[in-house]
């Protein structure tokens, strides 16, 4: 893994590198090369100046040159870059990461310390307004959960975190596959079934295309036909000025890098967080504990199903084969974990009847806790009970739970009182 660590404060670079190394080693280690890019010798400021002039070139129709940010798997940027010796407005990770993404061959961008919040109770995505692929606190770099999917169930590992070890590899594959697909409809490329467009929430549609109107009967059709390239022209995330986007729309390499990141972000925020179009295994079990059949009383069986990657994922084989197998969306480069088409699963009357065939009382009192990515039982020390909160979403499945680990900040806290 090749990492570029950027900070405007020289003394912070080794500290952050240490944190990163600690997390990397704790999750299995392997080759890791960290390059530090700081204020010394005007290195970071120079790199940014060169990046901005590349941006001007690209918008003006000239071929942009190579950048300092090229060829890294991971670019980690401190959000506050206000001490940099650069003319004009002060910079933050947010003001530069759109152009780093568009103009460099680096794969995944992480912003550090934009907020004091550890866990996002509102949208279940982290920092919902950040333009980085992931926005975290620097202390999170040292947690093994950031670098792997597996969870111990006791340590902080938000369910919405991607696996940073795998993410750059997945991004590489996304980019390769998009090369021949820029003018193809997004939804069918992502293997969404034909009727999925009509099941998307208003927010999911608006993020994909602010121009699609609701509630118009044709909106499903418009979304169904929306291509990656037209998304690029309409979407204002990485490159905010419409004139810049229009100027760059013919540059396939730029369009691909931008849409790969943004569509993945869309999937995380609008599809995976609400769990209303696709449902992953833990949330499926939350709704249908009887799928574990005789395994339902055992907490270990619930958690085995969470991390399982092969069918039938620890679920009852008959129920899986008869009712779920056909609605499976296997994990891939866009959505790493296996998921199921929830509207189809929910419409299966026989499966709904199974609620009554298999008494729920045999299932343990377990809650999927989003802050540790694991099912947790009620009881134990002080009869601990997971804290319930209501995420901000139109989905009927907005009631969620967290263990609420000490010394971590959960916000906004009014979600606990809704």
């Amino acid at each position: 893994m090749k990492v570029l660590l950027c900070d405007d404060k020289e003394q912070e670079l080794p500290r952050r590198a240490d944190l990163l190394r600690k997390g990397w080693e704790a999750s299995g280690g392997g080759d890791l090369h960290i390059t530090e890019l700081g204020p010394k010798g005007n290195a970071l400021a120079g790199a940014l100046q060169a990046l901005f002039s590349s941006a001007t070139d690209a918008v003006g129709g000239k071929a942009p040159g190579k950048t300092t940010f090229d060829d890294y798997d991971l670019v980690v940027i401190d959000n506050n870059l206000s001490e940099l010796e650069l003319q004009g407005a002060r910079h933050t990770a947010e003001t530069i990461c759109g152009w780093v993404r568009a103009l460099s061959s680096s794969r995944y961008i992480v912003a550090l310390d934009r907020s004091l919040v550890d866990f996002d109770l509102e949208y279940l995505v982290g920092d919902p307004t950040s333009l980085a692929d992931l926005s975290i606190r620097s202390e999170h770099l040292a947690l093994s959960g950031l670098w792997q999917r597996a969870s111990t169930g006791a340590e902080f590992r938000p369910s919405y975190w991607p696996d940073l070890r795998e993410s750059p590899v997945r991004r590489k594959h996304q980019i390769e596959k998009l090369k021949a697909a820029l003018d193809k409809p997004i939804l069918s490329f992502l293997d969404f079934p034909a009727e999925a467009a009509s099941k998307l929430s208003r927010a999911a549609i608006a993020t994909l295309s602010p121009k699609v109107e609701l509630p118009d009967e044709d909106h499903a059709k418009q979304i169904e036909n929306l291509t990656f390239r037209s998304y690029f022209v309409e979407a204002a995330r990485s490159i905010p000025a419409p004139s810049d986007r229009e100027a760059l729309a013919a540059r396939d390499d730029i369009v691909i890098r931008v849409v790969a990141s943004e569509i993945e972000a869309w999937l995380r925020r609008e599809i995976l967080a609400p769990q209303d179009v696709l449902v992953d295994l833990p949330h499926l079990l939350d709704r249908m504990p009887f799928l574990l059949a005789e395994g339902a009383p055992e907490l270990a069986r619930w958690n085995a199903a969470v991390t399982s990657v092969a069918a039938p994922f620890g679920l009852n084989t008959t129920l899986y084969d008869d009712h779920l197998a056909k609605w499976l969306r296997p994990g891939d480069d866009w959505i790493a974990r296996p998921t199921f088409w929830w509207p189809s699963v929910a419409a299966d009357e026989k499966l709904s009847e199974a609620y009554f065939d298999i008494p729920d009382t045999t299932a343990g009192d377990y809650y999927y806790c989003e802050d540790v990515s694991a099912f947790v039982g009620v009881g134990g020390k002080d009869d601990a009970q997971p804290s319930e909160f209501s995420m901000r979403s139109d989905t009927p499945w907005n009631r969620r739970y967290v263990v609420r680990l000490e010394h971590y900040a959960y916000a906004p806290r009014s979600q606990f009182a809704l």
Binding site: R15, L116, E122, D216, H407, A411, S414
Partner: protein, 739 residues
């Protein structure tokens, strides 16, 4: 067993009409709605002394349709089909009421109708001849094929004409006004339009009633009252743009919209807006009305009705030589044309500063957030491509660079002239947003600058004294006394306010500083963490337990710092500052006690488990937090010398009355409950004195806590008062509200 069939009395139709319709204007409106539902673009109503003719250019009916739908009572095809065949209009007519309406209005009816690709028919119905007691199915309706020469509204070969004769009631301006109010929602504000493609060109209703004075005006009043509700009017024009390069925009605000007084802002500027010197536009004129879709509307219009109407017809339309180009600002079918000014897109992006306005118009705040949505405006832009071509040629512009219609004839070619036009119109809307924000900000300034009431009253007193000679002495004396008392009372109130402000202002600044320091604490906390880690590593290398303990202590300090940050939590998150929902009382209390616990060591918190689902009135987490935080710090100060330190939160609901009672085991109020309630919620009133030895660990002490508590509670329709203490406690403060 033998069977017997139901029969239906013919008079049932009459009875149904009277029961279901009831009023003549509703009956006639039903018949017009049928035209709308049949995709007619025009429906003409002609009122004569004893007849009404309703003609449209809708689908018309073939004999089979007539038989199936018109001649069968209770046919409900409209329930099954939700939208009209051609323009997909949502159905407006009620189930089969049109037929009943005809009978309700008149004794005789003639219907002529012809669909596309089939022969038309003509039928006569004479209700007077349908005798009571006769079975409905035996009533015969004579019909014949329609003459080839018959035409319908607008000279159309298809459509329906219904003539009602021997009317049952008189049609005066009262009925016409009621009819107008019933039908305005269906009417396109653009009048009659040319039709392009399958797009709905709108529906217009024409009224001809020579015997009723001002018939047309009376009927149109229903539609006009919609437009009388505008709050701001944007106008713009360019005259001889290719030579003079000057454009003018003007925004007129009605009184009460953004600020209390009416105001007009105008501006002239040079084109083009995005630099360069070549202007490809010559003559443009437009007007855009901005509506406020919240609150009361004038002329008895419901805000929901206005919203729906503007959703359908709102936005900015474009006319070329008087003909509307349906692509722009039209309906919901064409998204790009719908948002041709980019208003919806920019609203979605939440842009804050205009790309087009000059920097000198910068108002302090983010004015573009006041950009009106397309569904809140109604406007028309007028150009003339014929004139533009002539002007372009005369001014040696490159062919194709002036405004031109595209071959499809529904839109303009996207060329430099069109881009300049779009920028010009958009500039005016941005100018509106900018001036609206300026008005709201000036209004706020104005309120602040108001002179205090005592000064005004004093002036009144001086005036009275100047005119003492003209007044009877008793009157002068009485008025002088009354006004002097008012001046004194106002002064006392102002002094109180001043004292409060004198304390609140530095406290608020300190609060803001505390919030920003909170961010700094993170850095300090990181350093502590680094130190703790380094010392822990040293303790392992040297195997020294003392170092390990030191590291542990540092970690504890760090965690304590984190808890202090937590207390500020609700002030740092937008969502926690917004009053969007009714929050659960128990969850709010648990949140706060969790955050405050490290600051109130040794205090036992008890939260009742009853009424788990009880909710506060609408209010933000920050507000409820402030109330409970104040109650808790008071409790802490009161318990400093107590052996037992307990705070109890009791949630209760009796009928619709809900309450949260916070009780503590402190020293008590020191005065009776009535006196405490009378005095302690006033600013700077406090009874409890913290002894000198414990003052350093007490919170607050400014005497403002409870007045802040009451201020917030009152704003949220809650009451706050001391009540008889719960058993085992010395003070109980209760917040109550209607749930």
């Amino acid at each position: 067993m033998k069977t017997i069939k139901f029969s239906v009395d013919a008079s049932l139709l009459q009875e149904l009409g009277e029961r279901l319709i009831g009023q003549p204007h509703i009956a006639l409106a039903e018949m017009v709605k049928n035209s709308y539902d049949a995709d007619a673009t025009v429906c003409t109503l002609t009122f004569a002394s004893d007849s009404i003719e309703i003609v449209d250019n809708g689908h018309g009916m073939a004999f089979d349709d007539f038989k199936r739908f018109w001649m069968r009572v209770g046919t409900t095809h409209k329930v099954d089909e939700r939208r009209s065949r051609k323009y997909k209009r949502p159905f407006t007519g009620s189930k089969g009421l049109g037929r009943l309406a005809a009978q309700f209005l008149a004794d005789e009816m003639t219907i002529e109708t012809r669909p596309v690709d089939a022969r038309g028919i003509e039928a006569n119905l004479n209700w007077a001849k349908v005798a009571r007691g006769r079975d409905l199915i035996s009533v015969e309706v004579p019909w014949s094929p329609l003459a080839q020469s018959a035409t319908f509204a607008d000279g159309s070969k298809v459509g329906t004409r219904i003539v009602l004769r021997r009317l049952k009631g008189e049609w005066t301006s009262t009925e016409l006004r009621a009819l107008g109010n019933e039908l305005w929602r269906l009417r396109s504000p653009f009048g009659r339009e040319t039709q392009v493609g399958s797009r709905d060109p709108g529906f217009s209703i024409e009224v001809d009633a020579p015997e009723v004075a001002d018939a047309r005006k009376t009927f149109d009043a229903g539609l006009e009252r919609v437009f009388s509700n505008w709050r701001a009017r944007i106008t713009g024009s360019i005259e001889s743009g290719m030579t003079e390069r000057v454009a003018t925009v003007s925004v007129e605000f009605k009184a009460g919209y953004g600020a209390s007084r009416a105001q007009t802002f105008s501006q002239s500027f040079k084109l083009p807006l995005r630099g360069g010197k070549i202007v490809n536009l010559d003559k443009v004129k437009f007007q855009i009305l901005v509506f406020n879709l919240k609150g009361r509307q004038t002329a008895g219009l419901q805000v929901g009705e206005l919203r729906e109407y503007l959703e359908e017809y709102g936005n900015v339309a474009l006319y070329d030589g008087g003909f509307r180009l349906p692509y722009y600002g039209s309906g919901r079918n064409d998204v790009t044309g719908q948002d041709w000014l980019g208003l919806a897109a920019d609203q979605g992006r939440r842009i804050t500063v205009s790309e087009l306005l000059p920097a000198k118009l910068r108002v302090a705040d983010r004015y573009m957030l006041d950009l009106p949505a397309p569904g809140r405006i109604f406007g028309a832009v007028e150009v003339d491509t014929g004139h533009e071509r002539q002007a372009g040629e005369a001014n040696a512009r490159a062919p194709g660079s002036w405004l031109e219609i595209q071959p499809g004839r529904d839109r303009l070619r996207d060329n430099p002239a069109f881009q300049q036009l779009r920028d010009f119109v958009r500039y005016s809307v941005d100018f509106y947003a900018n001036r609206y924000r300026y008005r709201t900000e000036s209004q706020a300034e104005l309120m602040r600058d108001k002179e205090p009431p005592s000064a005004k009253q004093n002036r009144a007193l001086e005036t009275i004294q100047r005119h003492a000679a003209q007044m009877p002495p008793v009157v002068f004396k009485t008025i002088t006394r009354e006004v002097s008392e008012a001046v004194d009372a106002s002064r006392r109130q102002e002094e109180n306010l001043d004292r409060r402000a004198a304390l609140l202002a530095p406290l608020a600044s300190a609060g803001m500083l505390a919030l920003s320091l909170n961010h700094e604490l993170v850095r300090e906390s990181r350093i502590l963490n680094q130190l703790a880690r380094a010392i822990r590593e040293l303790s392992q290398s040297f195997e020294d337990e003392r170092l390990a303990k030191l590291a542990e202590q540092l970690t504890d300090v760090r965690h304590r710092l984190r808890s202090i940050q937590d207390v500020f939590g609700p002030l740092l998150e937008d969502r926690d500052l917004q009053a969007g929902e009714r929050l659960k009382v128990r969850a709010v209390v648990l949140e706060l006690t969790r955050a405050m616990r490290p600051l109130l060591p040794g205090v036992e918190f008890l939260v009742s488990k009853d009424e788990d689902d009880l909710r506060f009135p609408l209010g933000s987490l920050a507000e409820w937090n402030a109330i409970i935080q104040n109650a808790l710090t008071n409790a802490w100060d009161a318990m400093l010398s107590s052996q037992e330190r307990k705070v109890h939160f009791l949630l209760a609901q009796k009928g619709r009355q809900a309450s949260l009672t916070v009780s503590d085991t402190g020293v008590g109020l020191g005065v009776g409950i009535d006196e405490a309630n009378r005095r302690f919620f006033e600013p700077f009133e406090r009874e409890m004195k913290t002894d000198a030895g414990r003052r350093s660990i007490a919170f607050g002490g400014q005497g403002l806590g409870l007045s802040i508590v009451r201020m917030i509670a009152t704003r949220r329709s809650a009451e706050v008062a001391f009540v008889d203490p719960l058993d085992g406690y010395s003070t109980s403060l209760q917040i109550s509200w209607r749930s």
